[in-house]
Symmetry: none
Subunit: 187 residues, 4 copies
DNA sequence: AATGAATGAGGCTTCATTCAT
DNA sequence: GATGAATGAAGCCTCATTCAT
């Protein structure tokens, strides 16, 4: 009995994740979700308070995990040991376990409280880059912002296309190397 | 009369362009446009069949121009002689003259028939790169796709931030160099 | 089993009384009640046919008691002997034993079959006053109705603020005296 | 043309006033209003932003007028010339011109921003009474509150039953005298 | 041409009530 | 008896689009 409820709760989450992933929060209707789950719309509200609560059900835990892990990652950055490998590995882990959630929270969340998440990530990354660059060589802020955004977008795109783990590893490594090279010869 | 009609027609287009640029097609309401133009919503339908027709009014011509120019550009690429053949220059021209339209058609067209335009651009660019690379060195298709998309996204981002021409030139050049470097050491 | 059932039946009643008292019939949801009781909403329907039945469960008995007592009170009025015949005392007893029910049935029953109860009380009171007044001095019916209503509303307000018995006694006496004085100089 | 729009705008207002007066804000549905006006529900939103805006359309102006007039009335109170007559006259004017609005704003506005209006009136009245009473004779605050509320409720009730002006005058005078007498012999 | 007015479909949400196990 | 699950009607609101003058 209890199981059934959890089953549906789960099915809602999985379905919603899939729909949010495909169409984003705004374009996904409660009807979309309910139909796919095989229940009436009003039934959704037995399990979640409202549409945004469903969204949160999908991403909240991931958000906490991600931000924690990200901070940890940044803290360890100072030591500069196997730096490249680190960020690659960090992102790989994230995408392998939570590909869809990662894409949703960064790219499909317009209209939710997570709207600003991607920007924050970009800002952090940008500051991080700035901190590691000789002041005299610094380019226009906007260019740096664009490059940071470019990198994040690349990661999101990779996540969107994720199929298997070894491809992913290769792909992220390539992207990271690509950006490292791109930057090295720039500044 | 004809003049008047054209004047309003034009004002609708300019206003719509501005709104689509700010909020995208889906999030822009007919009311938004009419209010800004200073006419009644119903009046829009005297000039355009429906909301999508307004959108087309904004971008159709640009679309034709752009695709033509793009093909021309690609044809001339081989000769590697004229400035026209330089992708930086090509993109600069586009953005200088049609910054908003370029952003709209690539990034603000969800819900219109142009939805797939960006993808097509990316594919073309990707094939173009492929054609210029030694088959033996070729990476996974998907990686190339992602890098192509990354480049296009970078251009879109630059376009979004466009203010003056010299900044733009510098910015695009940087991005192109960045990607060239990124790729050189990769393949 | 029977015991258990009665226990829950009772808990529902007590909870419902408290909620109806706070928010009225319309604004109290079945969920409000069930949550507070600690059972499922559907469970309510094992004990009561529907929401109004719960309401009746809360007030029916009181209603019978009250109307009976009121009639008795009115009958004994003529004799003007016993304390029972004193309206202050009558109301005090009611409020001390059934403060919430009294408020609910007079002021929180919109949407139930008791909606008209307060009106009926007012009418009775009005007729009662009328019967004791010299026909020649009689004011407009409506004025008398309004004064009667005013008195009842005062009582309800006192009931709502009821905390301890001596305060209540003082308060009702004041109100009664107040109205007596008000009327004396009027007719 | 302009006329028509205003006609409907007005019809909405009049209808809404009537419905709010009968059933209060919460219990009046947009459908109620639309049906009575003879338009579709969605049409209401051509004229008013939402249900509360309709309510405000009914009451806002009256509210400003009333609070102004009330303040003026209180300021002139000090002079204590024909005091009784004054408040009677003040209330009469209000009720004659805006009977329904007065009832709505005091008694039918649950769920709107005017919810607290009646309370405020009562508080003002109560403080006003307190200011005029010998401190040593002061009763319990609650009793004074109840009497103030009683008076306001009486006025509201009179307003609800308002039919013609001379009756109204008589009625308010009676109520005022009634309360004056009530109080005189109390304190 | 212009526009005031209307429309209907669809979106989110709440709630009393019923049903099957 | 208990309860997880479902249901449908109703409420508020938005929006693209159409109609009549």
């Amino acid at each position: 009995m209890q199981v059934l409820k959890d089953e549906i709760r789960n099915k809602i989450l999985i379905t919603a994740e899939s729909m949010f992933y495909q169409k984003g929060f705004k374009e996904t209707t409660t009807r979309n979700i309910a139909d796919e789950v095989g229940i009436r719309v009003s039934n959704l509200y037995l399990y979640y308070e409202n549409k945004e609560a469903i969204f949160c059900g999908v991403v909240d835990e991931f958000y906490r995990y991600f931000t924690n892990a990200f901070e940890t990652f940044l803290d360890h950055q100072d030591k500069k040991t196997r730096k490249d490998a680190d960020i690659s590995y960090f992102l790989q882990k994230i995408i392998v376990t939570d590909q869809k959630k990662f894409v949703i929270i960064t790219d499909k969340c317009q209209g939710t409280k997570y709207e600003g998440f991607k920007q924050k990530m970009i800002s952090i990354l940008m500051n991080h880059i700035k901190a590691q660059i000789d002041k005299n060589l610094r380019k226009d802020e906007l260019i740096m912002y664009i490059l940071a955004k470019n990198f994040i977008d690349g990661i999101i795109e990779i996540a969107k296309n994720y199929k298997d783990e070894s491809w992913l590893e290769n792909c992220i490594n390539t992207l990271v190397k690509y950006h490292m090279n791109g930057m090295k010869h720039l500044m």
